[in-house]
């Protein structure tokens, strides 16, 4: 590998609500020989990133966006995907820049952005890789390091930013030769079977972790203990990472809940539910350990996990160990929008085989996480990834006008204890097809109080007993028989408009309220992305924006059935025709 070669093909995701800027930036980045995907909505961007976590090297995002505060997006990305994020703004005020830095932006560009600034963004990716190597070096066995080293060594320009995650490698079609290099160290074939983290497998994993003890846990040890043939250390490693994130999110949620109750800010519809749910929430996960502090630094996580071991009901705000990202908030600081640890939230535990004995194809478990009416927006902002209430679905809840609703996947789904809220829409007769399931979901949703906006953070579709979280967090629709895989709903990264090619079964419906979506979504355009005929039944990741700059925007948001150009504050559709 030529270390001095320019990283052509750096995969950039640009997020900006201004279509003019989006077009210009795209062109600029293309001229830098980068591979560009554009997106006009923060939440769609998140969906995209979640969907194809390992398909991007860096994200550039505007700070002022109507559907989500850019800083919040920044946090999400940092926590969930650990990608470098560059912020952009027309506002160059030091305080804003500072905020960006605090939220973990690796750079802050002022608009109008110049080509030369964009040309240099690759350095952030490199830098991050270097850090990752160091981290892994310090933390785990040398295996990780070895793999990363292999990955760096075997790289040509294109593969330069390949991650060591085996799933990433699998996805990059042009990576075969490097795959061989990298995976040979584990004795795996190039085309690895996708690991399916079934309940059983995960339970083994959890048991192993518990047995080892959080402070001593490492992929190798877990792997040995689990004694599952065919499971690789990488599988375990990446699963472990997610697990930690998940736990940290839980931790934060619990803290928030406790604090929230203490604050008594609520308009009280939800308070009791808060408390009830909190307590059950605390007991619920079978993790058996404390709530580790959120941190992206695995090393740090390990340490924190240890300290939390005994105290499952810890309400102590945890110190912020992570130096890289100062995302961990003061729990007490309600103004701090950046409480990022909870953002670790949308973990890729997306498949929730809660009922193993049910015919998988007949069960769709819809995790519907809703806000109780009482939660003030401040708190939302603080812990955007709230698994706040697993409300009684049929309860009467009124949603907050400004909820922050980055809802994590319910942990209950993953772990055997029954979920707090789980809408099970059982389908009679195998619903093989998402479109069959769709009406059921809609019915479930509609049974909710109309005032309540159900944020379906992730719909776990268990359509086969092999539906499980992927080790890289992909939505596992592809595991459904006969369903098109996620690739159908993918971003054409060379498509300058970032249009999603939808398939009936797949969907990333960003920015849409599930409750108010029509059954059919023909030409359901979103800013920057246009869909054609997307079936609703597949997983919808809906996120409420928590930090809508203007409350009026939020009102509009909820009032509109469709995310259409009628909405006052949203850009007209199909800008990229």
């Amino acid at each position: 590998m030529d270390a001095t070669a320019f990283p052509y093909g750096l995969r950039v995701l640009v997020v900006d609500d201004d279509p003019t800027w989006l077009k210009i930036l795209e062109k600029m980045l293309r001229k830098c020989s980068y591979e560009v995907t554009t997106c006009g909505l923060a939440r769609v961007a998140l969906d995209i990133l979640r969907e194809r976590k390992n398909k991007f090297d860096i994200v550039i995002s505007d700070v002022n966006m109507p559907d989500m505060d850019g800083f919040k997006l920044l946090e999400h990305i940092g926590l969930e995907m650990d990608l470098p994020v560059i912020m952009m703004s027309i506002d160059g005020e030091t305080s804003r820049v500072m905020k960006g830095v605090q939220h973990g932006a690796c750079d802050y560009l002022l608009k109008p952005v110049r080509m030369k600034e964009l040309r240099n963004i690759w350095q952030h990716v490199y830098r991050k890789k270097m850090h990752e190597v160091k981290e892994i070096e310090g933390n785990d066995s040398c295996d990780d390091l070895q793999i990363l080293r292999n990955s760096f060594e075997g790289l040509d320009e294109k593969s330069l930013f390949m991650r060591s995650d085996s799933d990433t490698m699998r996805k990059r079609k042009d990576m075969d030769k490097d795959h061989a290099d990298q995976e040979s160290s584990d004795g795996n074939t190039v085309k690895k079977a996708r690991v399916v983290w079934s309940v059983d497998l995960h339970q083994k994993f959890v048991n192993a972790v518990n047995q080892i003890g959080f402070d001593k846990v490492g992929p190798k040890k877990i792997l040995d203990l689990m004694n599952v043939p065919g499971l690789t250390r990488e599988n375990v490693a990446s699963h472990l990472q997610k697990y930690r994130l998940y736990l940290s999110r839980l931790q934060k949620q619990n803290e928030e809940r406790i604090l929230g109750a203490a604050r008594q800010d609520f308009s009280h519809k939800g308070t009791s539910e808060n408390l009830n749910l909190r307590s059950s929430f605390q007991e619920q996960p079978n993790i058996g350990n404390g709530y580790p502090h959120a941190s992206q630094n695995i090393q740090t996580q390990t340490k924190m996990l240890d300290s939390q071991l005994e105290d499952t009901k810890s309400t102590l705000p945890l110190p912020a160990p992570d130096k890289k990202r100062t995302l961990v908030s003061d729990v007490a600081d309600s103004q701090n929008v950046t409480s990022a640890s909870s953002l670790g939230g949308v973990l890729s535990f997306k498949s929730l085989p809660v009922n193993q004995d049910r015919k998988p194809s007949e069960t769709m478990i819809l995790e519907c996480q809703t806000w109780s009416g009482g939660i003030p927006s401040k708190q939302f902002m603080q812990y955007p990834k709230h698994n706040h209430e697993r409300c009684d679905l049929l309860g009467d809840y009124s949603c907050l006008p400004k909820p922050d609703l980055e809802h994590p996947v319910g942990p209950s789904n993953l772990y055997t204890p029954p979920p707090l809220i789980s809408m099970s829409c059982s389908m009679e007769g195998g619903a093989r097809d998402f479109s069959d399931v769709k009406p059921a979901i809609m019915d479930c949703i509609k049974s909710l109080s109309p005032a309540m906006r159900c944020t379906v953070d992730s719909v776990s579709v268990q359509l086969s007993d092999s539906v499980v979280t992927s080790t890289d967090g992909d939505l596992k629709f592809s595991s459904v028989d006969g369903s098109p895989s996620n690739k159908d709903c993918c971003l054409d990264q060379t498509n300058s408009q970032g249009t999603l090619r939808p398939s009936p079964e797949s969907s990333i419906i960003g920015g849409t309220e599930l409750a108010s979506l029509p059954d059919d979504l023909p030409n359901y355009p979103l800013h920057g992305v246009s869909f054609e005929n997307i079936g609703l039944s597949s997983i919808d990741l809906l996120h409420y924006s928590d930090a809508m700059i203007l409350s009026g925007l939020q009102n509009n948001w909820y009032d509109e059935l469709e995310f259409s150009s009628d909405m006052m504050d949203y850009p007209s559709i199909d800008l990229f025709v």
């Binding site: 201004d18 279509p19 062109k27 001229k31 027309i90 506002d91 080509m115 009026g552 850009p571 007209s572």
Partner: protein, 151 residues
């Protein structure tokens, strides 16, 4: 048809837009992006700008009416518009946006209203001028459209 003459006219028109402060350096940056892969890039961007800024402005207009004295809202909307102006280098318009935001900061409703009218006017004027400019470029022929007139 005297294409070279048309091209000269286009160049001169463009120069005057710069001289009079309608456009700034950013416009050149956008022009630099135009290439064989996207031969009408500038016009496309400008069209997009006017379409989107029109929407933003009507948002502001509605907000001025619907949310009286809601300066933070007005300001936020205007911030969006200002950002948009910066994309093509719509300098005058951007300045008016800034003075609107100043008025917001001062809680000066009257000032806001006046500024907004100015923003609208600058928007209309720029649109008209650029439309003429592009028309001239088109008439000047593909060569004229593709090359950047020398300033």
């Amino acid at each position: 048809m005297d294409y070279s003459n048309l091209r000269r006219q286009a160049a001169s028109m463009k120069k005057s837009l710069f001289d009079q402060g309608y456009l700034d350096e950013q416009f050149c940056q956008v022009e630099d992006l135009q290439d064989e892969a996207s031969p009408n890039f500038v016009e496309e961007v400008v069209t997009l700008f006017f379409k989107d800024s029109g929407r933003l402005m009507s948002n502001i207009e509605q907000a001025l009416e619907k949310y009286p004295r809601d300066f933070s809202r007005w300001d936020a909307y205007m911030q969006q518009l200002k950002g948009s102006c910066s994309s093509i280098g719509a300098s005058r318009m951007k300045n008016e946006c800034m003075s609107f935001r100043d008025s917001c900061g001062q809680g000066n409703v009257e000032g806001c209203m006046r500024s907004f009218q100015k923003v609208k006017r600058e928007h209309a004027v720029l649109r008209q001028k650029l439309e003429s400019y592009f028309q001239l470029l088109r008439q000047a022929g593909p060569a004229g459209a593709a090359t950047r007139p020398v300033m």
